[in-house]
């Protein structure tokens, strides 16, 4: 059994969606933990869901990075446990320095609420095991999802294979139209050097059952149990 902690800050709004999506994954159980007293001991993985923590004041994710839960999360990640941040969770992980780069206002200034495609660039993270090259279709809903970094950081991230997801069209080709927010190098998600921490702007929890119009999120979340047990069902690979 894989135990997953789902962190809830003031303004988090996707924690119950994640808990529901994870309930569909065999051998996974999850708890929603309030940020002030989140005790991550005994958990194998932690998820930082989307939302608008602290109203996005200062910058998206900036205030949440000072929360006790984020300090606990840093220790958790340092211990090699799995961490996934989606949308505002990705912004929090970048603000906290757990992931490289930063997320700024979409280049078109629009809040984008849409379905996007992205290509899995790395299967070296436990979250994307067996998915390299897969074209995933997931929803996005964000105003500040434009991933940026200085030239050196971008070069390092590319060279070290830390780009996990890249926006493409449905055939896996990156075009100007397939990048919804102006992210550098079409980057939709990155991992840390240890590869145990992954962040992405799209919402895997909102496409984990056919009723919601897509199941590609499940292909990521389903890696949770197998990643730790090493027994991934072939269907998800």
């Amino acid at each position: 059994m894989t135990r997953v902690a789902i962190l809830r800050y003031p303004g988090t709004w996707s924690e119950r969606d994640f808990q529901h999506a994870l309930s569909l994954v065999p051998e996974v159980e999850s708890d929603i933990l309030w940020h002030e007293d989140a005790d991550l001991s005994g958990y194998d993985a932690a998820i930082v869901p989307g939302g608008f923590t602290y109203g996005d004041y200062v910058r998206a994710g900036a205030i949440a990075k000072l929360s006790p839960a984020t300090r606990a999360l840093r220790r958790f990640a340092d211990a090699g446990k799995l961490v996934l941040g989606s949308c505002n969770g990705f912004q929090i992980l970048c603000e906290a320095g757990l992931l490289p780069g930063a997320l700024v206002r979409n280049s078109g200034l629009e809040f984008r609420c849409d379905w996007v495609h992205m290509r899995v660039e790395s299967d070296a993270t436990p979250w994307t095991a067996g998915l390299r090259g897969a074209i995933l279709r997931m929803p996005i809903a964000h105003g500040e999802g434009c991933w940026v970094a200085d030239d050196q950081t971008l070069a390092d991230v590319e060279a070290r294979g830390q780009v996990v997801f890249r926006y493409t069209d449905e055939r896996g080709v990156a075009t100007a139209a397939s990048n919804p927010n102006g992210s550098l190098a079409d980057i939709a998600g990155v991992c840390n050097e240890g590869r145990n921490v992954v962040g992405l702007m799209p919402h895997p929890e909102r496409c984990s059952e056919a009723l919601l119009g897509g199941t590609d999120g499940y292909r990521v979340l389903a890696n949770l149990a197998p990643a730790l047990a090493g027994t991934a069902p072939a269907i998800y690979r």
């Binding site: 200062v58 900036a62 200085d150």
Partner: protein
Amino acid sequence: MTFTATIRVFPKSEVRDPQGEAVRGALRSLGLAVSDVRTGKEIVVTFDAEDEPTALEAVSRMGRELLANPVIEQYEFSLNKGVPV
């Protein structure tokens, strides 16, 4: 001792400022020859510190640890004794 810090946070010059670009377009629509606009924010903080060096260090921490993200932003500040006028 009470101090007031005025902290200005701006996107770094190499980071695109889409809000600034939108404002530039709007100002041009007024018929003005506007070549560039950078937008940022100003934060005024009133706080207590033992002396001026301690206050300076406190403001630096505010900038470094919360108000500006060094990946994308730079900040500058002025520090005055007393409350805002």
